[in-house]
Point group: C2
Chain length 414, copies 2
């Protein structure tokens, strides 16, 4: 069984909105073992939508379409569906009563427009939408299924997870499968692929490994298929244990945990309070740390010391250090980490200083030269990174490295 | 004339990559006055690509396709194109010589695989790609055009800007048009639409207004069509002047300037040095300010004071203030701004303190309550925002408001 995705909306065609709905649906269907064979985006025009439905249903047994936002757009989509199947509309009393209840609770007037929204193509089976007003629709003819969902992302996601995917798997069974995701930081995809060459060669046929890279991080997704759930679990556990043995220095967590969440978890477990001192990362490191809800439990704060005078006055970096070694140096970044730790009364501190670019480089310290340090009461670890020429990427990359060194230092690994 | 976009790649269908190429192309074509009638994504399979080319060319006079990365994928695309037109391949000596020169300069070996890359569909006219190895291709039959571009975003963008769009406009002329973008911050789309109701009603037929909203900011794009360039310029200038008169408090800049760039421009012009004190924004405000190259000219640094003890020790907030008013209060945020300004020796300072959520709310100060302050040597301005329940959005939204208040305070507007 194959699926086509069909997204409707002029805003997609003029590039005002990026089609993240399709990407999300593709990911979820792929995880469930359902193959997406094509994606089509069509404008908010009756004839184009009818044509696109036909095109997709000719090529895949299942088509999932998402509409635009709002009642006007829903209307175009519903009329196109009715036209495609040659059916009329019926009034859904159940939907109407649900909408009236919702509107009365919100104190909003129940209008004729609301009543109009409750007319549905005759052959549509409705999928209850707990997150919004427009229900999903499931239509079936000659063994081919058309599913229509609202375009609002959280409504679409809710209906996909609770109704569409479970029902598709029931209607078109695929081989049972399970996934485990192993999270790494600190090396790129090609280095990891080198270290896993033998692992991949030896991987049994019922297991697959996918690399999902982002800046400074790679997620490794293992998929096992074709067995009962306990067997799949055992297969995955065996391979996860092998990965742990092969990449002990790189793995920071499992499944959906972010690197900053892993850092928070470790600091919380060990009762450590954190402070940061940032030059080249300019506040982005503190931002990533504080993007985790509850981070105030272990994060005291940060000094963003962009000017040298602030490094001296607020962090206690020695003027002599700055003069003889410069702001981007091992000596300075060590004093920054030690300074903020002491002044903030923190247990552990991390500091960054580098040339983010595009200006400020020199032959000895080209753009992308970045020093990182982590300090506790007893010792200080420092590391020199060589990043690239892109300011935004340098900031993000050095932040990922700083978080990872902080994590490994707190665990006593470095 | 209408265009279909066709993107090739399994990675799009499994949602590993979001199709930002199509969104960018849609935006650029729309700006040039060329209508995109549909977008199709197909897998890296010969038959599917041939089928998709036919589908798109039946519906639009022009189809722009982008391939995946790498020689293997290019190969599938080229074979599908040759099959669709029923043509063979010819060896492009010119392309081969160019590739050999590039490879020799990089010290990389000239292999047989490289030679294979230089066979092109017989009917393809090549578009020189200055940013990479694979040239673009332009094929034409019965007045319908198929254009094939590499999938690497910066190569695709380069070819679109230098070759594809200019040539399409020559081949299929559209009414001449020009755009001006007016940038606003501080109000949402609906408020601005209310204030511009009469303006929109009175807009001449040769002018259009588009709203491009993002969190706390709205870009207003005026498009004038159908006249000579000087007339278009005059039409746009007249309407931009009217917008300035209608939204003097909201407009911060024009065209592509970001809010943080506008802040930097104003501080630089006035010789003002900036410091920030952040609680709820957790470093994100400093990050946005330092994302601008050269921001070290006017930005001294920041104290991210997440814990109350840091607000007291590093910013000089009075313990009594925290005890009687709490961290999220007008009194605290004023003392934070004034404290960081004095301690950093800055001319101007901005501070944030709020309940970002999801935890930490109370009946008097629910999640989303945010206090902002701006201070200089003489006075302090404070403002209470009520944001929503989403932590990430609250951080971003309050940062946009803080930047905008800073800008207006520096200009003497508030």
């Amino acid at each position: 069984m194959k699926v086509h995705l069909l997204t409707i909306g002029d805003e997609l065609l003029i590039g005002q909105v990026v089609d993240t709905n399709s990407a999300w649906m593709g990911r979820q269907l792929n995880l469930a073992g359902i193959q997406v064979a094509g994606i089509v985006s069509a404008p908010d025009e009756h004839d184009d939508i009818v044509d696109a439905i036909g095109h997709c249903l000719q090529r895949s047994q299942v088509v999932i379409m998402t509409g635009g936002l709002g009642p006007t757009k829903d209307d175009v989509t519903k009329k196109a569906i009715a036209e495609y199947y040659g059916v009329g509309f019926v009034f859904s009393q159940e939907t109407y009563e649900r909408l009236v209840r919702i509107f009365q609770r919100l104190g909003r007037p129940v209008t004729e427009a609301l009543r109009q929204q409750c007319f549905m193509p005759q052959n549509a089976e409705l999928l209850l939408n707990h997150m919004g007003t427009a229900p999903g629709m499931w239509m079936e003819e000659n063994g081919r299924v058309l599913i229509s969902l609202p375009g609002v992302p959280y409504e679409m996601k809710h209906l996909m997870e609770t109704a569409v995917i479970p029902r598709l798997l029931e209607r078109f069974p695929v081989a049972p499968r399970k996934h485990r995701t192993v999270l790494t930081a600190g090396e790129g995809e090609s280095t990891i692929a080198d270290r896993l060459e033998k692992f991949e060669d030896e991987l049994p046929a019922d297991l697959r490994l996918a690399y999902l890279p982002s800046l400074g991080q790679v997620r490794l997704r293992l998929t096992a298929t074709g067995h009962s759930e306990p067997v799949l679990d055992r297969l995955l556990e065996t391979q996860v244990a092998r990965l742990q043995a092969l990449l002990p220095d790189l793995i920071y967590g499992y499944e959906a945990e972010s690197l900053e969440e892993a850092v928070g978890r470790i600091l919380r477990e060990r009762g450590l309070r954190l402070a940061t001192a940032e030059s080249c990362t300019g506040g982005y490191l503190a931002h990533r740390i504080t993007s985790v809800p509850g981070s105030s439990d272990y994060f005291l704060g940060s000094v963003v010391a962009y000017a040298n005078e602030i490094k001296i006055a607020q962090l206690g970096v020695a003027e002599a250090t700055l003069q003889s070694h410069g702001a981007v140096s091992e000596q300075t970044v060590r004093e920054m980490a030690e300074g903020v730790r002491q002044r903030f009364g923190a247990d552990i501190a991390v500091a960054t200083s580098g040339v983010a670019g595009p200006g400020g480089g020199s032959p000895e310290k080209p753009v992308g030269t970045i020093w990182l340090a982590v300090a506790d009461r007893e010792r200080t670890f420092a590391y020199r990174l060589q990043a690239g020429k892109d300011r935004e990427k340098n900031i993000q990359w050095s932040t990922v490295y700083a978080l990872n060194f902080l994590r490994r230092f707190a665990l006593g690994e470095i």
